[in-house]
Symmetry: C2
């Protein structure tokens, strides 16, 4: 193992520090020189033998911190605005996952938090007539979730109709007078608008975040495990699990939120934004957890298949990179679907917990691990063959010293727990240690996963009095919310452009 | 049935109104004349026959409201500051319960809300190191609970030790570093200090409120059903269920909150307050729900038995009335105990729901309904003989059109539900109708009892994020609370006075 070793001497604190866990006695250490921006003066060691390690009396925590910062600078000292294409997966994250690249870790967490925001804002209460909506208006979404500093602007909410066979996924109010009989809020499209953030990212980023399910996994049993041709293009051998496909494509003309399918909504919006920021460097990043991860991959495929990311820059055609950061994703389609995603250049990084069951379905019988998958799919049209798309970042919650040793699905599948695991992951066989010191309390937002010694209440994320407030006359009420906008009036127009464009692109390619 | 009938004519609204449900065709109506303070002009009818009822076209809701106000004025048009002794039970609530006296109804609800405040403020979370405390400091208690307008001042919190055999009653933190290994907050003593309120009440009121259990009733099975002599005085035949007696009298010298038993705490505090307001007209009102109701009755007995309510007014001895408004109380002691309470002049009004099981225990075998109870207790010292104390106000939740038809103990035993039933109760066989229009949403604070059509979330009373807040560095923490005061330094002094006084009173009587 190529071990990194730093001997750090801080004259102010008389601190000598070294990295732990990476060295064995007898290793020879290569002297390195580096410049750290923030930390106290750091001098590189001369070459030493590890046999002399016992003479150090370091403060390990501080050493670890300095080391990580040093590591970051050493491994890729280009700033994000230069390295962003690699971080977004242009080289399929080669050499970035083991050891874990610090920029990539931060970006996975940052996008994961966009997906988590869908849970933190969703109205799950069947006693509320707004059950199934986002609790906050789009204009206040990031502010309400303490994410105003992310530098993104909400551009559109996405709705799907529940008139499909996933009864355990859709949240329905018990009341008769409700905001909609059919619709469920499914996520959003946002775009980076803060100039500093755009500079930091090296491009203007369009993010699509899909809502999944926090812990309630009964929808898995609703999946019919039937593959249907997607028919976004003309190759009928590209197939998608029918539950996901229905969710993505079904519309309901009697409901104003579902006059467009969620597919049409997201395509029209992506088209609109790309049009709006024509000529700028752009990226499309799609994220989601659980069922939301399936929609993330499906929509990424769709956007690419419809050629929305091919833009005419006057002199040449440019391709906007499409990246999916998915969490606990089930399989979405067949091997043909996976191959087509690869062909289209969609980059998918699937973050999983090896103890989670969701990434193993559907496709228990035949999946990407089965060596004759291609044969059975092509030759005998085996109907239950599924393949994961992209690269996997497989984590293991038993390596976190902060978590309980449980196999409870509500815990091991939890999105916040995945983000915690990403923060602690440094590479295969490397010690778990929180790189960004991400708040462990977040793990217990909607789970009971943290060891009780940390004193964090279980399932602590909740509204004061479930949103009940006292009205002027002293009575407790669930306040009325401002009317929800259904679809922007230009949706049909942009959708038309999508279809027109996809045809013309087809002809050109 | 002596029916009340009002014919009300409001020239402004051309409204004619009458009471519903109280009259049968053919009844003769006695003309009455009354003056209402707030309502539009009201003229009494001439005597009419009910056969002419069909000629009225009233707005029934408005009529009902006017009628209730009129009823209040008619039945006892003395203001509360004159009628308070009857309301506090000096005549054992004779003629006040059926039909229900409006003043009494309001007072039962007012005191019930003092008991409810113990639930609304208690820290039940075993993940909190403050589990088992009151969430609010005494100085802010009423303000935090929106009860600042009640005109009462918190004078002392009461703590009991858990070193007794009620493991399912005490709330214990899972953490090792906690505010106390032994103590649980049990309620409080407060005194009316607002001059307007004192004028309205006709006296300065000392209130003692005891915490019980909201829905978790396992403590019932912990009750050993063993009667022990109370020994507050010298008659050993006065016996109390040992669990209640232990809870009331046990101390724990290793814990600063339990160096005095809760009995000693409450006696010392009552003594101190009576001393402080010597010469004023006073009342002692004790309230509690469930196990808290047992403590209410026990402490009322104790205060009277210790003669704390006998005060020397210079020329003569006066007796401060002691009243208990209890909710869902179990039985507390034997028949001798009940007889002694009567002898001492303690007035107990027990509000119950006929479908609740708690008021039937202990004493399933032998209780006040058993005609030979006195015989078996006196002659054969039957060891499981219990008797309820005082008058009962038996309500029936199936008469409320707002509640579900459930027998779930968590619902039928719920304190807020009892207060709702009190509000709707007008007398036996009379129609349920909310007299003070008390907010029905309160019923679902800690239950799922309201019919779902009212759209009130179940168990909605909850803190935002279970009390977690973001600290300066953005991390989520359960904030530290200010240190809890254990016992005022003069507790021992007042307790000594209690003992001295009880002896001297003994000699004088």
């Amino acid at each position: 193992m190529a071990a990194l070793f730093l001997c750090i001497y801080n004259p102010k604190y008389n601190l000598q520090a070294f990295s732990r866990g990476l060295l064995a006695r007898g290793d020879t250490i290569k002297p390195i020189r580096l410049q750290l921006s923030k930390k106290p003066s750091v001098r590189t060691s001369s070459a030493i033998k590890c046999s002399s390690l016992s003479s150090f009396t370091p403060n390990l925590d501080e050493a670890q911190e300095i080391l990580e910062e040093a590591q970051e600078h050493m491994e890729d000292n280009r700033p994000l605005h230069e390295a962003w294409r690699e971080i977004q997966g242009c080289s399929d994250w080669k050499d970035l996952l083991d050891p874990m690249n610090p920029y990539l870790r931060k970006e996975i967490i940052r996008y994961g938090e966009f997906a988590q925001a869908c849970y933190d804002s969703f109205d799950f209460d069947p006693r509320s007539k707004y059950c199934g909506t986002c609790k906050y208006q789009g204009a206040h979404f990031f502010e309400k979730l303490d994410m105003a500093d992310r530098g993104y602007h909400m551009t559109r909410y996405l709705y799907a109709t529940s008139n499909i066979n996933l009864p355990n996924f859709f949240q329905k109010s018990n009341l008769s007078s409700v905001w909609s009989q059919h619709a469920n809020w499914m996520g959003y499209v946002a775009v980076s608008t803060d100039e500093n953030e755009i500079r930091r990212l090296g491009r203007r980023d369009i993010v699509v975040a899909w809502r999944g399910t926090v812990t309630y996994l009964e929808w898995i049993h609703d999946l019919k495990d039937i593959l249907c041709p997607a028919h976004f293009r003309d190759d009928p051998s590209i197939k998608i699990e029918s539950g996901f496909l229905d969710l993505y494509t079904t519309k309901e003309t009697t409901c104003k939120y579902c006059t467009f399918s969620v597919r049409e909504q997201v395509l029209a919006e992506i088209k609109r934004i790309i049009e709006r920021y024509k000529g700028e460097e752009l990226s499309i990043t799609i994220t989601g957890h659980s069922l939301g991860a399936a929609l993330a991959i499906l929509s990424a495929y769709d956007i690419a298949e419809m050629k929305l990311n091919i833009v005419d820059n006057g002199t040449s055609m440019a391709k906007i990179p499409i990246t999916v950061f998915s969490f606990s994703s089930p399989r979405v389609g067949n091997l043909k679907f996976k191959e087509r995603c690869d062909e289209l250049g969609i980059k998918v990084l699937r973050v999983t917990n090896v103890h989670d069951k969701v990434p193993t379905v559907p496709g228990i019988f035949a999946n990407e691990k089965f060596q004759y998958q291609k044969y059975i799919e092509d030759k005998i049209s085996f109907p239950w063959s599924y393949a994961h798309v992209g690269a996997e970042l497989a984590l293991d919650h038993t390596e976190s010293p902060f978590l309980k040793q449980t196999r409870d699905l509500g815990c091991v599948h939890n999105l916040e727990a995945h983000l915690h695991l990403v923060d602690g992951y440094h590479g295969k066989g490397r010690q778990f240690s929180l790189a960004t010191k991400r708040d462990i309390a977040l793990v217990n937002k909607s789970s009971d996963f943290l060891k009780s010694e940390y004193g964090v209440p279980a399932h602590w994320r909740q509204d004061e009095n479930k949103g009940m407030v006292r009205s002027g006359d002293g009575r407790w009420i669930l306040p009325e919310r401002p009317g929800l906008e259904a679809h922007p009036p230009d949706t049909a127009h942009h959708l038309e452009q999508v279809l027109k464009l996809s045809k013309s692109s087809l002809e050109m390619l």
